[in-house]
């Protein structure tokens, strides 16, 4: 169930019908779904770019922490909260980890 809390080994993915795109005309990133347009901030864009249906929440957080020289536990909490929020409105889905 998607209501379960997000874990470090969850693999988030953008489902079909959800798109992360840079709009050239507006010079801005958008996350779009059915009748939904989100304008993610810089941090959200960095998280979303790493959501590829392969990387786990932990891997995404570790990568961000390394790249931005930030404490990993803080970043982990931010990523988990972000993923939880988008799962609840079906802008993300959980992908089964490939064995």
């Amino acid at each position: 169930m998607s209501a379960a809390p997000v874990r470090g080994d969850d693999v988030p993915a953008l489902p079909r019908g959800v798109r992360l795109q840079f709009n050239e005309a507006r010079g801005q990133w958008f996350l779009q779904g059915p009748e939904r347009v989100f304008e993610p901030d810089e941090i959200a864009v960095e998280i979303l770019k790493r959501i590829d249906g392969v990387r786990t929440v932990d891997v995404i957080a570790r990568g961000l922490a390394a790249e931005f020289a930030a404490p990993e536990d803080e970043i982990s909490a931010d990523v988990a909260a972000f993923v939880t929020e988008l799962l609840a409105i079906r802008m993300l889905e959980r992908r089964e980890p490939s064995a």
Binding site: M1, S2, A3, P15, R16, G17, V18, R19, Q21, N23, E24, A25, R26, F30, Q32, G33, P34, E35, V37, L87, A88, I89, R90
Partner: protein, 365 residues
């Protein structure tokens, strides 16, 4: 021009055709339906898609009528995908083979919105004016699931089916939808002609509101439920279209560019045609788009209202309908002098002795 250029529209509603197998008595198409011979050709739509993307439009909705009746639908979707637009198909599910959707899916379609008229076949078919239509929709729902397309179930509710909201949400779950739109009938055009057969009672609306809240709680995390509210019983108007000429542009089958699908009911407005003028120019400069853009056109009580940037004075078409003046306050607002009249109409129509619907048919004047 002293006004700054408006931000580009977020979404383009492409009404490819008015042709449709269904005859729903609340159809949002105008009373005078465009004929096939007046429809824009493929190359004009392709140019429009290019123009929309260049302007910074984010989403395109292919609608109608029934957009799947256009043989070029997959070509148009494909171009929109190439140009980076998020693509929606708004379909009745009827009048074409379900397998035809495969080409559209392969073109890269993002999202299908499938309408239903109710959860019981016979009653739904009656509203749609076509026997067998509910069964056709089920077939298409199966095809949508097989193709793995993101699905929204779109249910228009009115006096005859408003008690079915929990059942409609369950139907959406059965069909694998990720989103449901429960849309109370909005009274323009065909729906005004049927208002005394469609208007729910206040008690029905209260029940519907409670049902909606319960269904949202029950399906939280699994299903997104959006609602279009019944504004005749409201205290404040809806923020119609997110403001006139602010977020949406609508192109009719014959190429007229409108700020909303009902804008043609405002008789003094003249709408530019995309055959004659680039879309960006129409959006920025045309008299019709500037007529009610922003807040400068407002009079009191809107002009000095603290909600003016929130609901934009409500709906211009509804103001026209009740006040005979599209610049008046939407009578759905409790500050409108006509608010009590609107409520009286709703109360009267909701308890009227309903006879047969006036079905949507071509050629009605």
């Amino acid at each position: 021009m002293s006004a700054p250029a408006p931000a580009p529209p977020m979404a383009l509603l492409a009404e490819l055709t008015h042709r449709c197998a269904l005859k729903c008595p609340y159809c949002s198409n105008p009373l005078e339906l465009e004929r096939r011979s007046s429809e824009l050709d493929t190359s004009t739509w392709l140019r429009l898609i290019d123009e929309a993307a260049a302007m910074g439009v984010l989403q395109i909705s292919f609608s109608g009528g029934e957009p799947m009746l256009r043989p070029d639908i997959a070509v148009l979707v494909s171009r929109a995908v190439e140009r980076g637009l998020y693509t929606n198909l708004i379909t009745s599910g009827v009048g074409f083979a379900p397998e035809a959707l495969e080409r559209v899916a392969q073109a890269g379609l993002d999202h299908v919105q499938l309408s239903v008229q109710g959860v019981e076949d016979a009653a739904a078919d009656h509203v749609a004016g076509l026997p067998g239509s509910a069964a056709r929709k089920r077939l298409l729902a199966g095809e949508i699931a097989r193709l793995g397309l993101r699905l929204t179930l779109n249910a228009v509710v009115h006096r005859g089916n408003v008690a079915q909201i929990p059942a409609l949400v369950r139907l959406a779950e059965d069909w694998g939808a990720a989103r449901v739109e429960i849309a109370h009938v909005q009274y323009y055009g065909w729906a005004v002609a049927n208002r005394d057969r469609l208007m729910p009672t206040r008690a029905q609306v209260e029940r519907a509101t409670a049902d909606l809240a319960a269904e949202r709680a029950r399906t939280a995390g699994r299903l997104v439920i959006d609602a279009v509210l019944p504004d005749y019983y409201a205290s404040y108007p809806k923020p119609c279209m997110g403001g006139w000429g602010a977020r949406h542009i609508n192109v009719t089958p014959a190429g007229k560019a409108l700020p909303c699908h009902a804008a043609e009911t405002i008789p003094h407005l003249v709408f530019d045609n995309v055959r004659d003028r680039p879309l960006a120019e129409i959006w920025r400069d045309s008299a019709a788009f500037n007529a009610y853009r922003g807040t400068d056109w407002m009079r009191d009580p809107c002009r000095s209202c603290e909600r003016r940037e929130r609901d934009f004075g409500g709906c211009r078409c509804q103001a026209l309908l009740f006040a005979g003046d599209a610049a008046a306050t939407d009578p759905a607002c409790r500050l409108s002098p006509l608010h009590a009249d609107m409520l009286a109409v709703a109360t009267r129509d909701s308890t009227a002795d309903a006879d047969a619907y006036v079905f949507r048919t071509p050629g009605r004047r």
